[in-house]
Subunit: 394 residues, 2 copies
């Protein structure tokens, strides 16, 4: 079994169905960070870079993440934010396909992925174009003008999941570089990057991996390319010999060239503790448990709250680890649920989103959440000015 609730600090009276936005606190993370601060930063001071192994952590933790996404050792490195990693991946891809001018994505992609490409295109002034099509039209839209296909495997609103291997093959058949954003995949669904053959992948670690708010992102480059990609963000920690203080940039031989600046050691301590929770966990088991919870949830919610319309694919195999429902007053309804301790989230214009995370959620939790949803909808608890007008940030 994958359930290990006892490893998390979950607040009393909360049913947390938002681990797809920010994972909860692994108990070990607090202890690990406190120790890092007191014993390493406090006592070792600058020597922590060597003596506590700080400098090696982006690669070391990258390997822990890599194990969950089918990436061989030494092919993943941590750092920065997902937005930055998207920029690095797309910029590198464009250099790999000179002459091709299109970056293809889908309308379900998370906005920052699209924004980063727009920023890159505006910076380049070389006639590049970001083209977005509906998720189901991606394969047909890949042609020999496409330099890179950049997709988030699991749609952040609907949970719809691309067929990674099939889309990658379409991209390659047209000579395009394939970049996967695994924001809603890492720790959520089984991923086999090596088997997919994709050139690059990026993702964040504060969702299903429970690394904490603002935990660093990751980037994967296929091992045969890691020594060849051109880093747009040529930071000193991606240099072949950072402490030579050479005035000229010379990229590291492998994935380390995708490092940029000084890594966030306190965040990495929390993330490292969070990754230890995954020790011995098989993603196939996580997937099986997640699907079971999702199917139960859909069945219960559809039976109890007929005003909610399923926005996610009904076929479990085409869905990531979340279930979304549409409801015109979804924002207020979600606020009413949160007030009752059922935490999901809302995504404009009308999506109520619930994440399923079998490390700390079980069938009893799902049944309890469904009962609250029934009450909120049946009694129209959402029809209350306090819920309609709350300042919305996330």
């Amino acid at each position: 079994m994958v359930l290990r609730k006892e490893m998390f600090d979950l607040p009393e009276g909360v049913l947390y169905l938002d681990g797809n936005s920010l994972g909860p606190l692994p108990k070990a993370a607090g202890t690990r960070v406190a120790g890092m601060i007191t014993d390493e930063w406090g006592q070792m001071l600058i020597r922590g870079w060597n003596d506590a192994g700080w400098m090696a952590q982006p690669a070391m933790i990258g390997d822990k993440v890599g194990r969950l996404i089918g990436a061989p050792e030494g092919s993943v490195v941590m750092g920065d934010t997902l937005s930055i990693k998207v920029y690095q991946a797309v910029a590198a891809a464009l250099k790999m396909r000179p002459g091709r001018k299109v970056i293809l994505s889908d309308t379900g992609n998370f906005p920052t992925d699209l924004y980063m490409v727009q920023g890159l295109i505006n910076t380049l002034e070389q006639g590049f174009e970001l083209k977005t099509v509906a998720p189901e039209d991606v394969a047909a839209a890949i042609d020999d003008q496409v330099a890179a296909v950049m997709l988030t495997e699991v749609d952040y609103r609907t949970g719809r999941m691309h067929d990674m291997n099939a889309v990658t093959k379409f991209a390659h058949d047209s000579g395009a570089v394939m970049i996967w954003d695994l924001a809603h995949s890492a720790g959520a669904v089984p991923v086999d990057l090596a088997a997919s053959g994709c050139e690059m992948a990026v993702g964040c670690t504060y969702k299903y991996l429970n690394g904490g708010p603002g935990a660093p992102a990751f980037i994967y480059v296929r091992p045969d390319l890691a020594g060849a990609v051109q880093p747009a963000l040529a930071g000193w920690l991606g240099h072949d010999a950072p402490f030579d203080f050479d005035p000229d940039y010379r990229p590291a031989g492998g994935i380390e060239r995708m490092r940029v600046g000084t890594p966030p050691i306190i965040q990495l301590a929390a993330l490292d503790a969070a990754m230890d929770v995954w020790e011995g966990v098989d993603m196939a088991d996580v997937r099986a448990a997640s699907v079971e919870l999702q199917e139960l949830f859909i069945r219960e919610v559809e039976a109890r709250a007929p005003d909610l319309t399923l926005a996610s694919p009904r076929d479990a195999q085409a869905r990531g680890s979340q279930v979304s429902f549409r409801f015109t007053e979804g924002y207020a309804a979600m606020q009413a649920l949160i007030a009752r301790g059922v935490i999901g989230d809302f995504r404009a214009p009308d999506i109520m989103r619930f994440g399923f995370t079998p490390l700390y959620l079980d069938a009893d939790d799902v049944m309890a959440a469904a009962a609250h949803i029934e009450t909120v909808m049946r009694d129209k608890l959402w029809d209350d000015p306090q819920y309609r007008n709350r300042g919305r940030v996330t």
Copy 2:
């Protein structure tokens, strides 16, 4: 007085002269981070973004940093790493001066600043050129081909300090954009960005500001330009309305457009506690105390260890908050010092670097450090294989 040793956790038996590389642990940082993890991440979970004010922290802490560098409220924002901020600043500057092809810097700049520009130039493929001249030749090298002058105010090896106002004026006289890197200035020397008139400035917070290893960087944009600069790194948190999830990027109205991805909340908690140590501190007092400590150090070291050659300017006004000495066996000598509890650092090829941080260093510390240096040099303690061959990371 600025001395507030009691606010720091300094290890027993250590004389820490490396706060210019990584500041020590402010006592409040450990408590603050522990509280943030337990009470905010643990209990609020996703609601922390609103209820604990996480989303506002990059701007809120930016203002605290801004106070120390002469930046008006709302002109500084935190995030990413210094390398990333350099990229943002230079990319924005190039858009402000179309047609000009030169980025001018000096050979004393920290390598990552130069690398990031090299990476940007290679990405752009528009014939841009990074030109570096000796620090004292910068003013004369500014001509009407220079789009941006990018300099680190205080040289990381020698401590030599540029005249910020004078160089900025030279840049502006030739129509160039001026970008200052304040890595060794913020919290070290008085800076008045507003008075200088420079367009942009960047810096890190893990040195003199004591924000912890990997603490986020900052960027300043002159208020009249903050709503006009074009963000190359167009991340969702720099969007005018991130939670509209608009597919098109539309930059925020002011400095917030220089935000990119999800901010590192755990690092920010530590940094916020570190910034509180500066409350009521006047940078003029810090400077006066720092100069006094440096002058004492130079006098004592030159008297006690004649084999060390001053690498920093002798004129205190032309020097930042560090003192460097050259010594052929500087690496081994620094290792011998560290073994005795005197922590400075080494920068290739032969620089022994000592930082002066009057918040937690006093004249007694300086005298004690000088005595150890005397012993190491007089007894040739550096001439020991254990010190010569140690793996060097920082």
